[in-house]
């Protein structure tokens, strides 16, 4: 059984991200890293592939900038990496993305489980995950905090899933798509040898025609990016002789501001 996971390169979490005069999103000379949520899905793919004695492949959909994330994944220990790209693919449209992703999973072949990180920080979305499952026609298990059992022979999976109201333990049939939460594992750091090997790796690119996919018109349109409105915050430092005095003054201020 083969396991597939998806990743992408996103600006370093400490980077200052801004929209420039041309309306493009920029992050200065900050590096890109793997989408922070994907650290957990990459680790889980390595662990689960080992458990079932299969291979783990990582896929990114997008331009060359995503090779960085794929190389990091290979350095962590993923068995193979593929990038999917063709001009005209609108990665901000989740149905476009999911249609390409599902076709790529089918091309890998013999896939029993697809693992995603909880969401992508660049687009700030997770709908592409659920739509990939739907395009594949597979069971979707989201917000997985723990894989309790993955049985390749009987083709079943048992997971603990987080909902607003509590935790569900669910069983489902494979093949399935899951999205995993932070805390499901401790992601490993790439080894020195891993990094050296990954730096030399040639990453194949699959085009939409390689995947035999014709995309429908995008169902959503990106109108544009903008910077956050400047928040004019005047900070008032509350003084007082004792913590009690400061606290009482603060309570008065909060009552005036009508937030209590």
């Amino acid at each position: 059984m083969h396991i597939v996971t998806f990743t992408r390169s996103t600006p370093d979490t400490t980077a200052k991200v801004e929209v420039n005069g041309k309306g493009e999103v920029t992050w200065g000379d900050a590096a890109t890293v793997v989408n922070p949520w994907d650290e957990y899905s990459l680790e889980e793919a390595i662990v689960q592939a080992k458990n079932v004695g299969g291979k783990a492949t990582v896929i990114a959909i997008g331009t060359e900038m995503h090779n960085e994330a794929l190389k990091h994944s290979l350095a962590m220990g993923l068995d193979a990496a593929v990038r999917v790209w063709s001009d005209g693919l609108d990665v901000t449209d989740s149905l476009h993305w999911a249609t390409a992703a599902a076709a790529a999973v089918n091309k890998v072949g013999d896939v029993g489980l697809v693992i995603f990180g909880k969401e992508s920080v660049d687009t700030g979305t997770d709908q592409h995950i659920y739509q990939t499952a739907r395009k594949l026609g597979w069971t979707m298990l989201s917000y997985v905090a723990k894989i309790l059992e993955l049985d390749a022979a009987n083709k079943t999976i048992k997971v603990e899933k987080v909902l607003e109201g509590g935790k569900q333990v669910l069983t489902a049939k494979l093949p399935a798509v899951i999205s995993v939460m932070k805390g499901i594992n401790e992601p490993r750091y790439p080894s020195f040898i891993g990094i050296r090997k990954a730096s030399k790796a040639e990453i194949p690119v699959w085009s939409l025609s390689d995947l035999g996919v014709t995309l429908p018109a995008a169902s959503t349109q990106l109108v544009g990016y903008s910077n956050l409105p400047v928040q004019e915050v005047v900070t008032e430092i509350i003084d007082g002789a004792t913590p009690q005095e400061k606290a009482e003054k603060l309570v008065e201020k909060l009552l005036e501001a009508k937030v209590l």
Partner: protein, 344 residues
């Protein structure tokens, strides 16, 4: 007839109150379009909840209380929602971006080929085109997306839109429908369910009290035999100074990534880039320096209060009010002052 469909989220017979915010926006947009609002409620107690939906603005309510929908599962819920959407070709399907809402809407949208926009905090309508503003790059910038009717799917952020005030005289026509999937065709089985223990949910909290690394500077002495004194001090601090303040305020307890990663509190309390994004009226940050990743998750709070020993901490730059001091002195004093003032 064209309409706006609003999904009212119901878990085990309890409605998620942010659903009424979606119904509020739904009735505003429906008015602009001159179409009615249909609320859909699935699961336990759905028929009883239909009355509430009417009072919050629904003109019609579609309910399904079938046993297969008793506890939330994606497959049967999505199949039924997609079927209702195909039958009615609504201008818009509207809900709140909870864990359930996100996967349900994306799945149903894929089934009917509709476009979906999530996390909307502002919405405008021009003819059949709807444009929404939403966060991107961890909330460091905004993006505008547009989607066209029919079958447009939209999820709003909790607390971004106001519900209608409840009108006890409003009634709606209720229709009961049958599920699409039989139990035998549903791959997912629920083995068990453990309800959430924390009292207030971060995503829809009006007030949040958060603590960071500073919570480890607890003057209390750990009992003998404690494996890790720092972790004990931090956890003890959450229990003895953060939680009591949260209790007085009816607030949810949050934490910085530093506090979560150090093992001081569980991950479901984390606010920030790899935690929850929140927008309360009041956010009290105690012992949190205010790293850019934390700011990404809480900068939409209406009023921010910073409490930190270090007067140069970046958190003060975004705070409306600041107290420079030890959180172990300030938080208990604040709890007492509030008890006095609020008469608790």
């Amino acid at each position: 007839m064209s309409r706006v469909i609003v999904f009212v989220e119901n878990f085990d017979g309890h409605v998620n109150p942010t659903s009424w915010e979606a119904l509020g926006l739904g009735s505003t947009l429906a008015q602009q379009w001159g179409v009615p609002v249909t609320a859909v409620v699935f699961g336990k107690n759905a028929t009883a909840l239909a009355e509430d939906a009417a009072q919050y603005g629904a003109d019609h309510v579609v309910v399904c209380e079938d046993e297969t929908l008793a506890t939330y599962r994606l497959e049967p819920y999505a199949a039924l929602l997609a079927k209702l959407v195909s039958e009615h070709a609504p201008k818009l399907v509207l809900g709140v971006g909870t864990n359930i809402g996100r996967e349900l809407f994306a799945t149903a949208a894929a089934d009917v080929g509709g476009g979906i926009i999530t996390e909307a905090s502002e919405v405008s309508v021009d003819g059949d085109t709807l444009t929404a503003t939403r966060p991107a790059f961890s909330g460091k910038v905004l993006m505008k997306m547009s989607v066209s009717a029919p079958n447009a799917f939209l999820l709003i952020r909790a607390r971004a839109f106001k519900p209608n005030s409840k009108d006890a005289s409003r009634k709606a026509e209720v229709t009961t429908v049958s599920p699409v999937m039989a139990e035998a065709d549903i791959s997912t089985k629920v083995e068990s369910f453990t309800p959430e223990t924390s009292k207030v949910n971060l995503s829809d909290a009006g007030i949040i009290v958060s603590a960071g690394r500073g919570i480890a500077n607890n003057p209390a002495t750990p009992p003998a035999g404690v494996a890790d004194a720092t972790i004990w001090k931090a956890q003890h601090g959450f229990e003895t100074v953060v939680q009591p303040l949260a209790d007085v305020l009816g607030a949810a307890v949050g934490a910085s990534r530093a506090a979560v990663d150090a093992g001081y509190i569980s991950y479901d309390h984390q606010v920030g880039q790899t935690g929850k994004s929140v927008n309360p009226d009041l956010y009290i940050a105690a012992g949190i320096s205010g790293a850019i990743q934390h700011q990404a998750g809480m900068r939409n709070s209406k009023v921010i209060v910073a409490i930190n020993k270090d007067g140069d901490a970046p958190i003060f730059k975004m705070a409306r009010y600041g107290i420079v001091g030890d959180l172990y002195e300030v938080l208990p004093a604040l709890t007492e002052a509030l008890k006095k003032k609020l008469g608790k």
